[in-house]
């Protein structure tokens, strides 16, 4: 097991190198020039060239790449071209809102979706099952920003019980303000994950319920509740956990719309702003960071399989 974990961690190194190279080249080959953005409307071509020089953007790409890699080796993700702040500091400023949003969303989604999916599987073909599937299709179909605006209209503008926007930290502002501010974005974002996880749970549980050992359990007189919770659900957990893990990874890197609609200063918005302004160090640093998160989460998912299925050994 330990050997497996170490090997997996070591295997991240070539993946990160490939990602770094790919991201660096993609950015340099894409059109757009941060120097031109900085120089603004009044600049002459000479001004732009001077700024490029100062930013080190007029050096050959190979020189720029090795300069960046050299900094990375020392744990330095670089300095934002526009704000002049270290990329690691910018990520540190933004990681908490995104992480909290991801965790509350997934927690809420799992708490709703797993029972819902299990119930739908247990009552397969019934109106409950059809309702869950209908909700699932709806959850996939409704765009996040539409749902977000609807919830803001109802809970913030009409009922006035929840704030429209912003983020409060549970560590510095208190649990109450945190929950008040995170409620609407989490519910909005969780709908699509409830749809996804409940579908996956339903399909997985239905498959397990047809297994021989379930028939055996029934023959031995086990209650349906016991069969469902202790036999079916646990055996159906592996694909469900995979979806949950991928969901967390997606949430950390891809919640830009929700962060914009609810004005949460998270990583999604940071990367979008950086792309629009061609702030290369931020984009490079964030993509590397996201890659690392994906790798870690995938590793954790793989390790968690051993908890649900004793046959899996590393």
């Amino acid at each position: 097991m330990l050997r497996y974990v170490l090997l997996r961690i070591l295997s991240t190194i070539p993946v990160m190198v490939i990602v770094a190279l790919f991201v660096f080249l993609m950015l340099r080959l894409a059109p757009g020039d941060p120097a031109a953005v900085i120089a603004g409307d009044y600049a002459t071509a000479e001004d732009v060239a001077r700024i490029r020089e100062q930013l080190g953007l007029s050096d050959p790409i190979v020189v720029q790449f090795f300069r960046w890699v050299g900094s990375l080796m020392q744990g330095d993700l670089g300095i934002s071209i526009f704000s002049g702040k270290p990329v690691s500091e910018l990520i540190a400023q933004r990681i908490e809102p995104t992480l909290m949003l991801a965790l509350t969303t997934i927690t809420f989604a799992v708490l709703v979706a797993v029972p819902l999916g299990t119930l739908a599987a247990f009552k397969a073909g019934s109106w409950i099952d059809r309702f869950v599937m209908l909700f699932s299709v709806g959850g996939f179909s409704i765009p996040v920003f539409v749902l977000g605006y609807i919830l803001i209209y109802i809970f913030s503008m009409t009922l006035k019980i929840l704030p429209v926007q912003g983020y409060r930290s549970p560590f510095t502002d208190g649990l109450g303000p945190f929950l008040l501010h995170i409620a609407l974005p989490s519910v909005t974002l969780s709908v699509i994950f409830i749809a996804l996880i409940s579908r996956m749970t339903r399909a997985s549980v239905i498959e397990v319920l047809e297994e021989d050992y379930i028939r055996t359990a029934r023959a031995k007189g086990q209650s349906e509740y016991n069969i469902l919770i202790h036999h079916a659900l646990r055996n159906a957990a592996v694909p469900v956990v995979t979806v949950i893990g991928i969901g967390i990874a997606l949430l950390i890197g891809g919640v830009v719309v929700t962060e914009s609609v609810f004005n949460i200063p998270g990583l999604g918005r940071l990367v979008l702003d950086a792309v629009l302004a061609r702030d290369y160090p931020i984009i490079q640093g964030l993509i590397l960071f996201f890659s690392f998160i994906y790798i870690v989460i995938n590793l954790l998912i793989d390790l968690s399989y051993t908890l649900f299925d004793p046959r899996i050994r590393y």
Binding site: Y42, D47, F82, M157, V164, Q165, L180, N263, P265
Partner: protein, 528 residues
């Protein structure tokens, strides 16, 4: 016992919940706070390094200036107490006011002023012209400095009192010693508010606190001039990338002031009786269609003028801005409502007829060379301008190649003087805020392709007139020369002008003291 414990837990929970939720109200303490939605994200903090308007507004909060424009665009002393000029107008002596301090407590001295002006003079267009006409700038003592010109130059006070980017803000000499092409890292200011660097979250929040030692002037406030009295303890900028969320936050009372709601949201915001929506910038913005004068077909003035004839300002404004409350036609190259407004030579822009454009184009020998229009799809106003131009030009007989891209790509590509097949371009759209094109010295009106603006218009007569404007001594003389410059700009078809539009501000009714100005200032504003 169990029963008692449960009751105790319940009591604790009942107390904890309101306490925790009550933390929400902690901002509403004794200090007064102005919560602002700025027009853009403050990405960098050096208003000399960048021309971004948001950095300029940040600069006005934390720095002071030597002179400042009033609402009629007349410069008045700000940090300067007294000044005089020699009879020949070549030697200018300035003395600073008493009590001027930087945020670190150090006094503002002539050395700080000279270093700040020199740094600004290396980046700003007007600053470069001022220093090109300067023989020396020297400190006489800690509070007095002398500017000696090398020849007649009529825009000394207009230059050091210019209202928009780059504004000659006064920084400590050690900060102003930074290479003008590098960002400053020390944000010690000289203005009415102090920047809180540890609370700055790029892309989200900027916090300023009142500078207790700032000494405002006694004169009443008028645009950038007059007493800069900080009437709130704290100004918090929270950037909203989404306009609808910003509107909802204002309507729900989570913010006090929305600097630039889009005109299509303004009517909805105005339905809230607790909110005022009004135009605060009397000059607004001026839409521009910029030709590349170096490449065919727009290397021919007659072809450019034919294209301008097809442009109808009303169509552009209706498509891009909408509600006529927020726009008007304006055929002066200087914003309508400003001292130099005139209509000399503007018949070509007033034509607004595709038929007339077609006729004019037929006489030019245009051979069907495609016109590459760069369309920045991430900026709705400019995207709409591009679509209208494409249709107008097609109808007038041009072959149009519309290329969609983001603004960042456009800003990079517009710097290219190469042929189209090597990454060049023929036309793009932008807008200038009125204060930036208020007189012939604006880079938008340059006729010198070596030091001029993208598109690189070339016209010796135009440049001669602009130089004469800089030397002019009286307002009457300036007005006359400005009209000549305008006539020449239309004669060569330098750019198409697409109308004057105004962005409203929206604020809750407990906010008072807004200053009418092309730049958003935050002094004099109180929250009741």
């Amino acid at each position: 016992m169990i029963h008692r414990m449960k009751r105790r837990h319940l009591l604790a929970a009942a107390l904890a919940v309101p306490l925790a939720f009550g933390a929400l109200a902690k901002d509403a303490g004794a200090e007064s706070v102005l919560r602002v939605i700025p027009h853009a994200d403050l990405k960098n903090l050096d208003p000399i390094w960048t021309t971004a308007y948001i950095s300029r507004n940040h600069g006005y909060l934390i720095y002071d200036t030597l002179f400042a424009m009033d609402e009629n665009f007349v410069p008045h002393p700000q940090m300067v107490d007294t000044w005089d000029t020699s009879e020949d107008g070549l030697v200018w002596t300035f003395t600073l006011r008493d009590g001027l301090k930087f945020h670190d407590g150090a006094p503002v001295t002539s050395a700080d002023v000279i270093a700040s002006l020199e740094r600004w003079g290396k980046r700003d267009g007007m600053g470069q012209q001022l220093f090109a006409n300067t023989a020396s700038l020297e400190a006489k003592d800690d509070k007095t400095f002398v500017l000696t010109l090398s020849g007649p130059y009529g825009l000394v006070l207009e230059s050091i009192g210019k209202i928009s980017s780059n504004v000659p803000f006064i920084m400590p000499a050690r900060v102003a010693a930074t290479d003008p092409f590098e960002q400053i890292t020390d944000f010690t200011g000289s203005g009415p508010f102090v920047f809180q660097s540890d609370e700055w979250v790029p892309g989200s929040t900027v916090v300023y606190t009142k500078f207790a030692d700032y000494v405002p002037r006694d004169e009443p406030v008028s645009a950038a001039s007059g007493g800069k009295v900080a009437k709130v303890d704290k100004v918090i900028w929270t950037y909203f990338p989404d306009q609808t969320t910003a509107m909802n936050a204002l309507m729900a009372g989570e913010v006090d002031f929305f600097e630039q709601p889009s005109p299509d949201l303004a009517p909805l915001i105005a339905t809230n009786p607790d909110i005022t929506v009004e135009i605060n910038d009397p000059l607004g913005g001026i839409g521009f269609a910029r030709f590349n004068h170096l490449l065919p077909p727009f290397d021919d003035a007659d072809v450019r003028r034919a294209a301008i004839m097809a442009m109808n300002q009303e169509d552009y404004m209706a498509a891009a801005v909408g509600d006529p409350v927020y726009w008007r036609t304006c055929y002066s190259v200087y914003p309508c409502g400003t001292p130099l407004e005139n209509e000399a030579g503007s018949e070509v822009m007033k034509t607004a007829s595709v038929e007339a454009a077609k006729e004019a184009l037929a006489k030019t020998g245009y051979d069907g060379t495609p016109v590459v229009i760069m369309q920045p799809t991430d900026i709705p106003l400019l995207s709409a301008f591009s679509l209208v131009t494409a249709e107008k030009l097609r109808n007038a007989g041009f072959t149009v190649d519309m290329q969609a891209m983001d603004w960042s790509t456009l800003t990079s590509r517009r710097a290219s003087r190469e042929p189209v097949e090597n990454g060049g371009w023929n036309l793009f759209h932008t807008w200038w805020i009125g204060a930036d094109v208020i007189d012939p010295m604006a880079i938008a009106f340059s006729g010198n392709p070596d030091a001029g603006w993208f598109g690189w218009a070339q016209d010796a007569e135009l440049e001669e007139a602009r130089s004469a404007f800089a030397r002019a001594a009286t307002p009457e003389e300036r007005k006359e020369i400005a009209a000549k410059v305008q006539e020449r700009l239309w004669a060569i078809g330098a750019s198409g002008q697409l109308g004057q539009f105004f962005s409203p501000v929206a604020y809750r009714n407990n906010v008072t003291g807004l200053i009418k100005s092309p730049v958003q200032f935050f002094w004099n504003i109180a929250v009741e």
